[in-house]
């Protein structure tokens, strides 16, 4: 199992955790942890794996490639939900949402972090949230 990007999330004994950044000067939390020259301004922080749905939409057509790198094509593409999940006291993160029941999504509903296969090879995973 290979993460889609280094430093995006890590496995812990209690399951996966997203890695955010806490800005040194004011404690503000951002996601993802900034890389490059900006990284010096932030300390890495493991984010909560539970939160509430802040907003959502559904991607109804296959995004343009590049940048999209899904292993589907125009015909096999399946619409997916995505949105924002508020992690209490930390930050609101953008995420793919794991559900087939788009009509049941509601702002404020509890959500939990998960990993899902994504892209080529089958062993690459990205993060997502699912209704909890």
């Amino acid at each position: 199992m290979k993460p889609i990007a280094e430093g995006l999330f890590r496995m812990t004994e209690a399951g996966p955790r997203l890695i955010g950044g806490r800005r040194k000067r004011d404690g503000k939390i951002v996601f993802p942890l900034p890389a490059g020259a900006e990284a010096a301004q932030f300390d890495p922080v493991e984010l909560k794996d539970r939160g509430t749905l802040w907003s959502f939409t559904v991607q109804r057509f296959r995004p343009k490639s590049p940048p999209y790198a899904g292993d589907d094509d125009e015909r096999s593409f399946r619409p997916f939900a995505l949105g924002y999940v508020e992690l209490p006291g930390e930050v609101i993160v953008e995420t793919r949402i794991e559900t087939d029941d788009f009509a049941a999504l509601r702002i404020g509903q509890p959500m939990a972090l998960t990993l899902q296969p994504f892209g080529k090879g089958g062993d690459t995973v990205t993060y997502a949230f699912k209704p909890a």
Binding site: A5, A35, P63, F80, T126
Partner: protein
């Protein structure tokens, strides 16, 4: 300090023009504006011009005449036109110049914009996993707003229905076919809750305005609306903008809210004084949210306003009288100036077929990525 007036206005119809470059359309608009003010290119003391995807605006110069005029290219995302106007306003207000032009034109490829993560300072995974689409941002933003303020999908449809209705009455619009709300609502979903008829498309077009000091205007025997307020503002901490992998829990004001407030203060008018408004309607939801962000109504009041036709032609506060971006498309460099062009026509009583009777104060607001907004308030 002098007042600044708009004494001429020109536009190249928006839409698709396969045999014309973006530059051609800018030249057309500028020549129409010069003719409208009955001045020559050699009379122009300065120009601010912008184009996002159709080359340097400065390339207008060989076409119009190499007069040595001060020409400055403006690039400020979707607010390029509004920013050019603000620059022209200050050039005259400062007393340095008394006659100049602002111009914008553009020509975009068909279909959604195709951004690269690196160009936005974002990691590759963000684009790879299908999270980097402007349409998603619009869907997310309006979905939350609807949840918080009780706006229904039918209200989104009514915004688009009004846009196509007004577009059918406007010479410079692209979409001239009315589409009813039921058709809009049941059309193919792009990014929930927004269907394909609720989104504007990239397009082509050009718009130009002639600005003059009050003294110069009188000396030339001209007349035109006075710019009472103009402001450009960028995003603050906690605003929700396109391509944001995370947001602050503590929410802040939008760039539109602060630009709007600054323009009202500068103009010395209140939202109640506005007779006609052109506001950014990249999609139906944007018009709904911008109604409130510009102080034109309370959050949630849009539901009743749209149902009762208050923002239609003939309503209490007509909004996007030329069909806005939904019916005109969005050539980035020209879009903000199109809004001002439309208000100039309204305030001069020249908006045949869509005229707002006795319009005296006109309001425009253009918003765009990566999070800025430009507002102008004109008085007849």
């Amino acid at each position: 300090m002098t007042d600044v007036h708009i004494v001429g206005a020109g536009i190249h119809p928006f839409g698709r023009h396969d045999d014309l470059t973006g530059l051609d359309q800018g030249v057309f608009a500028l020549r129409e504006a010069l003719a409208d003010a009955a001045i020559g290119w050699e009379d122009v003391q300065f120009a601010f011009g912008g184009s996002s995807a159709a080359g340097n605006a400065d390339a207008l110069l060989p076409r119009l005449g190499l007069t040595g005029v001060q020409f400055i290219n403006v690039a400020n995302g979707c607010a390029t036109g509004g920013s050019a106007l603000l620059a022209g306003y200050w050039a005259i207000k400062s007393g340095e110049f008394d006659l100049g032009v602002v111009v914008g034109f553009d020509k975009h490829p068909r279909g959604a914009f195709n951004p690269e993560p690196a160009a936005w300072g974002l990691p590759e995974w963000y684009g790879e996993t299908g999270l980097m689409l402007t349409t998603q941002f619009f869907g997310n933003k309006i979905a939350r707003y609807m949840g918080l303020h009780g706006i229904t999908p039918m209200t989104l449809a009514r915004v688009a229905e009004k846009a196509f209705e007004n577009g059918a009455r406007t010479p410079h619009s692209w979409r001239k076919q009315p589409v009813d709300a039921a058709t809009i609502l049941s059309a193919q979903m792009v990014s929930d809750p927004l269907t394909k008829f609720m989104f504007c498309s990239p397009a082509e077009g050009g718009a130009a305005l002639i600005l003059a000091s009050e003294r110069k205007m009188r000396a030339l025997g001209l007349a035109g609306p006075r710019i009472r307020g103009a402001a450009v503002r960028s995003r603050m901490e906690g605003s929700f903008e396109v391509f944001a992998p995370s947001l602050d829990i503590v929410r802040g004001p939008s760039p539109t809210q602060i630009a709007s407030k600054a323009a009202y203060e500068m103009a010395g008018v209140a939202p109640d004084d506005i007779d006609v408004a052109q506001i950014q309607d990249t999609e139906s939801g944007a018009e709904i949210m911008h109604m409130a962000e510009n102080g034109l109504c309370a959050d949630g009041a849009q539901e009743a306003m749209l149902r009762d036709g208050e923002t239609r032609l003939g309503g209490r506060l007509p909004i996007n009288t030329d069909g806005g971006c939904l019916a005109c498309g969005e050539p980035i460099g020209a879009s903000g100036l199109r809004q001002v062009y439309e208000n100039v026509q309204q305030l001069r009583g020249r908006a045949a077929g869509r005229q707002v009777e006795t319009a005296r104060i006109g309001y425009t607001q253009v918003y765009g990525a990566p999070g800025l907004s430009a507002v102008t308030i004109l008085e007849a």
